[in-house]
């Protein structure tokens, strides 16, 4: 039994045996609770308008990039392409602009996405319980919202203006989403922003309190590492591969049933080696620019972060199968159960 108080020591223990034994235990637990399944999803960026100034983000409001949001027709083209690639679980992303991508716009996007994908999640600006309920009824299964860092001081340093500067409103987002009826919630920290053991411990505490209060929700966690944007590095507390892997394994040991997401921010080699050690969901065939799949050439794109694993969905599916993993494109479908929500 690992205690939260031991996390710091475990992460700072540089012995290879420590890492290996963590991996061994994490692998056994992952197989026990998830078998060899790996769920695949892909992001689809529909807007890069942003009213927040987050110093590490490629979309932030002071960054001089071309801003636009997809029209319904453009969304259909992008989504149709992704669905054609085999993706059935789409994560719709925007920048954080309540005014330019209001709930009504998101609702429209969700409605369109539901034409193409059995499962639709959102990673957008935080909203109210009523707005989440509305989106849930439109067909949203999952909400992704990262606190980025649980260190209030550091949080204030990197989130300079905009709604994201409100630490407490963001902290309450998973709870409001759960109250809105959302079935699956992804939480996370942005590795590199702040002292990692402290952030990780705080994330675990947040997750545990959510689990207790909303036991019906399916939780997953993500550990995006701060990535350079067009070559510029922003990490003040860089997390190396060994620590990254230990974080995944520790999370599995402490939360045997919680999903762990791994994005294409990470390279192919690390992603492939992390499989089975705790990771249960991966993005595949990702493009992190608005309209990046079909509408804009690579030269015209302003990505939120640079994708490392550029393999297409089919290639990743094949690779997973070759390694005895079971790639899962849809792990559930919404079936009307006749119950009307209040």
């Amino acid at each position: 039994m690992i205690l939260f108080s031991q996390i710091k020591d475990i992460l700072s223990d540089r012995r290879r045996e420590t890492t290996e034994s963590l991996a061994r235990e994490a692998q056994a637990l992952t197989e026990q609770y998830f078998g060899r399944t790996i769920s695949l999803y892909a992001p689809i960026y529909i807007s890069n308008y942003c009213s927040s100034w987050c110093t590490y983000c490629g979309f932030h409001s002071h960054n001089r990039i071309q801003r636009f949001k997809l029209t319904a027709e453009e969304m259909r083209r992008e989504m149709s392409f992704l669905a054609g690639e085999g993706i059935e679980n789409a994560l719709i992303l925007t920048g954080e602009s309540y005014n330019l991508t209001p709930p009504s716009y998101l609702k429209e996007a969700v409605g369109i996405a539901r034409e193409f994908f059995p499962s639709v999640s959102l990673e957008v600006h935080p909203m109210t319980t009523a707005e989440y309920r509305d989106l849930f009824e439109e067909g949203v299964d999952g909400i992704t919202v990262y606190q980025e860092t649980y260190d209030r001081k550091r949080y204030a340093q990197v989130h300079l203006t905009g709604t994201k500067a409100d630490y407490d409103f963001r902290y309450g987002t998973p709870e409001r989403a759960a109250q809105g009826g959302v079935r699956s919630i992804a939480m996370g920290i942005l590795l590199g922003l702040s002292e990692v053991a402290q952030d990780l411990t705080a994330l675990y505490a947040h997750l545990r309190s959510m689990e207790k209060r909303f036991p019906g929700v399916e939780y997953s966690v993500s550990f995006p590492r701060l990535k350079p944007i067009k070559g510029k590095d922003f990490a003040s507390c860089p997390v190396d591969d060994v620590t990254f892997l230990k974080i995944i394994c520790l999370t599995r040991l402490l939360f045997p049933r919680v999903g762990i997401n791994l994005s294409t921010r990470e390279g192919m080699r690390l992603r492939d080696n992390c499989l089975g050690l705790g990771v249960t969901r991966m993005s595949a065939g990702s493009n992190t620019s608005v309209g990046g799949y079909t509408l804009r050439s690579p030269e015209e794109q302003d990505p939120q972060f640079d994708v490392e694993d550029r393999r297409r969905v089919a290639e990743i599916v094949e690779k997973l199968k070759a390694r005895n993993f079971d790639p899962v494109l849809t792990d559930w479908r919404r079936i009307p159960n006749g119950v009307t929500l209040p």
Binding site: R16, T19, E20, A23, R24, Q27, A28, E31, D241, V242, L245, R269, D272, N273, L275, G276, L277, R323, N324, F325
Partner: protein
């Protein structure tokens, strides 16, 4: 090589997984004791129904006043006879019984059983080790019955035992795997086959032993006393197969053959 590559192995199948003891191979992992059967026909039917390939027999003075049917008439020739030294109270008597058994011309496989306690019928581990040393040196294939205890098991293995037969619980008690944790230690630490003997009263208990990684089980009383011995013998044989298949599908069995030198995290240090 990554762990993902090492854990891909052939689909386990019973056909490819014979029980190996000394120089023989057996497709059945169920051993039948032949004592206490109400009649020899029941015994014969139990052997046939369970497809056992190893049965134990004991040696007794011939009762000259009364004609007894020869038990060997009821045991097919291709079944390996394991001569039980039951009745021996010390190593010397066990050795004598084993030598007598060999003179019958029915082979040199012997189950060393030394019991000098009539209340619990627990085996005397120290005397068992002594008898095993002597008999193994004389070329016997020795399968000692023992109380599951690591040091004794090691001594038996060193003495040349072909398999080790720890008791699951007291003889005839039908209490199942009361010694589970200790048998588990023997399974992990001893290289010769571990055959769970004594105390198994239900097929589910045999499955439990096999799931744990026992190489085989031996059952006698439960079957001999059943209303339908042949039916229960078959149930035990199936239970043993079920348990073996479960064990074969477990990571524990896979790790037996896995390459121990492929750490999960080695890739982190390669460049």
């Amino acid at each position: 090589m990554s762990i993902m590559q090492t854990i891909q192995s052939a689909q386990p199948a019973l056909e490819n997984d014979p029980l190996r003891i000394a120089d023989r191979q057996f497709t059945s992992r169920f051993l039948l004791g032949t004592g206490k059967f109400k009649n020899k026909k029941d015994l014969s039917a139990a052997i046939a129904a369970s497809r056992t390939q190893i049965v134990t027999v004991a040696l007794r003075r011939i009762d000259l006043e009364r004609h007894e049917e020869n038990i060997l008439e009821y045991i097919p020739k291709d079944v390996t006879l394991l001569v039980n030294t039951s009745g021996a109270r010390n190593a010397q008597e066990a050795v004598r019984l084993a030598r007598l058994g060999r003179e019958s011309g029915c082979g040199n496989w012997v189950k060393v059983e030394v019991i000098n306690d009539s209340k619990y019928l627990l085996p005397d581990n120290a005397q068992t080790v002594k008898a095993t040393e002597i008999l193994a040196a004389e070329g016997f294939v020795v399968l000692p019955y023992m109380y599951p205890e690591l040091y004794t098991a090691r001594a038996l293995e060193k003495a040349g035992a072909a398999a080790v037969m720890p008791l699951g619980s007291l003889i005839g008690s039908r209490q199942g795997l009361r010694t589970r944790e200790f048998i588990n230690i023997l399974i992990n630490e001893i290289d010769v086959p571990i055959i769970v003997d004594a105390g198994l009263g239900a097929p589910s208990q045999a499955t439990e032993a096999m799931e744990l990684g026992a190489a085989a089980v031996l059952v006698n009383t439960a079957i001999a006393n059943a209303a339908h011995p042949a039916t229960l013998a078959k149930a035990f044989a199936l239970a043993v197969e079920a348990g073996r298949l479960a064990y074969m599908s477990s990571p524990a069995a896979a790790s037996d053959s896995a390459n121990a030198s492929s750490p999960l995290t080695g890739f982190l240090y390669e460049q």
